[in-house]
Every structure is written in C-alpha cells, then in structure tokens.
C-alpha cells in the first residue's frame, strides 16, 4: 500500500498557502482578499492535522480547533469593518479606497 504521507499534505498545504498569498496580493476585491486569507488559515490547519497524525500527538488538533474559532472571529470582525466601509463609500474594491493610499 502507498498511503498518503505527511509530505503529500505538506505539498497540498503549501499550494493553498501560495494560492492564498497570491490572491491577497493581486486581487483588489476586499472580500476575495479576505477569502484568500481564510485559505491560508486552512492551509495551516491541514499542516497542523498532518503533523498531529505524523507525531501521533493531539496538540496539533487542539491547535487547529483554536485556529478555526479564531479565524471565524477574525472574519466576523472583518465583515463588520467592510459593512461600515461599504455604507460610507459604497465600494469593496481595495484600490478605490483612496483617502489612504493603498
């Protein structure tokens, strides 16, 4: 048998990290940027769970639970900030936010 090894998970997670990072850097829609950040956090979770299985150690899974909950809190605050921005500016495009040069 050739099971999926930790390395496979690491490659998947690195790919997600790359997609997320590129997404934040090149997309100008703030909501898509937010989603890209969530993607990176999920890459982290994959890493943590993979390592947790690798070491047969529960710490990684506990950490992943904390990451999930914190990510949700972060997303909620982010969406709240975006709604406030949208009410005042009526845009979610990062480069149309111009008072503070991006």
């Amino acid at each position: 048998m050739h099971p999926i090894t930790t390395t496979h998970y690491l490659i998947l997670s690195a790919a997600l990290l790359a997609i997320g990072a590129v997404g934040v850097l090149i997309r100008r829609n703030i909501i898509i940027m937010l989603m890209s950040i969530e993607l990176i956090l999920n890459a982290v979770n994959i890493n943590l769970i993979a390592f947790s299985r690798h070491y047969q150690d529960v710490i990684g899974q506990v950490f992943a639970i904390f990451v999930i909950t914190v990510a949700v809190a972060e997303a909620a605050v982010g969406l709240g900030i975006l709604i406030a921005l949208f009410r005042n500016k009526a845009t979610v495009q990062a480069d149309e936010v111009e008072i503070l040069k991006w």
């Binding site: 050739h2 639970i65 999930i68 709604i83």
Partner: protein
C-alpha cells in the same frame, strides 16, 4: 496488489474520466440530436408561466449578513464542546466549572447582541439605535 501510487489511484482516475465522459456525452448528444425552438417564453428563467420579478442581482438587506455572522460565531464556538466532552470523565468537576465559565462568557455575548437589537428583524422591534 497494486504496486505503485499511480496504480493504486488508477480506479479513482478511471472514475473521474468516466464521469466526465458521461456528462460531456449527454451535453453533446442533446446539442446534436435535439432541435431548438427559440421564443421569448422559452428564454424565461422559469418556463412555467410565472413572471419573474425584479433583477436576479438584487441586493440583500445587511441584516442577512448580521444574522449569518452571529450564527456562524455562536455555531463555531460549540466546537470546543467536542474535545471537552471527550475528556470530561477524566477531568470531572474541574471540566464542569471550566465549561461553566466558557458558557457564561458566550451567554454574556449573546445578551449583548440581543439587547443591542441585532436579532430584531423588523425596525419596530429594534431599540432606537444611538447616534
């Protein structure tokens, strides 16, 4: 017995290919064999006599986001209950009080959003928002 990764995952690849072939084949077949009638009634989103109302790109009220956000927040917090339930027997009273503190904190957040009117759907129920 399969001897390599490629061999082991061959059935999966095969299944993907078959699925794609069937889906593609059906679309191709309907394009080739079916004959097409174009008229305004046919082009409507619902071909059943009901007139569509408004634009499909309608904006939704911001209340949907608010309620969805609060729901997700409270929903995700319950994830802590699972590991807690697993070790509850070993930790006994300590775990009970820890969870009590946790639940009290969540409930005080809930009390806040409730009193602030974030859960009130119509404007009448909502306490007057401070300026």
């Amino acid at each position: 017995m399969p001897t390599s990764v490629a061999e082991e995952y061959f059935p999966v690849v095969l299944q993907v290919l078959v699925a794609m072939a069937i889906a593609g084949g059906m679309i191709a077949a309907s394009a080739l064999l079916g004959h097409r009638v174009r008229n305004p009634v046919k082009d409507q989103p619902y071909e059943c006599g009901i007139q569509p109302e408004g634009s499909p790109r309608e904006r939704f009220s911001v209340k949907f986001y608010l309620v969805a956000m609060i729901f997700i927040l409270l929903d995700i917090e319950t994830v802590f209950l699972y590991p807690w339930a697993v070790v509850y027997r070993e930790l006994r009273l300590f775990a009970f009080f820890e969870m009590l503190v946790f639940v009290v904190l969540i409930l005080s957040g809930f009390f806040y959003i409730w009193k602030k009117g974030a859960l009130a759907w119509s404007m009448e129920e909502k306490p007057r928002e401070k300026q």
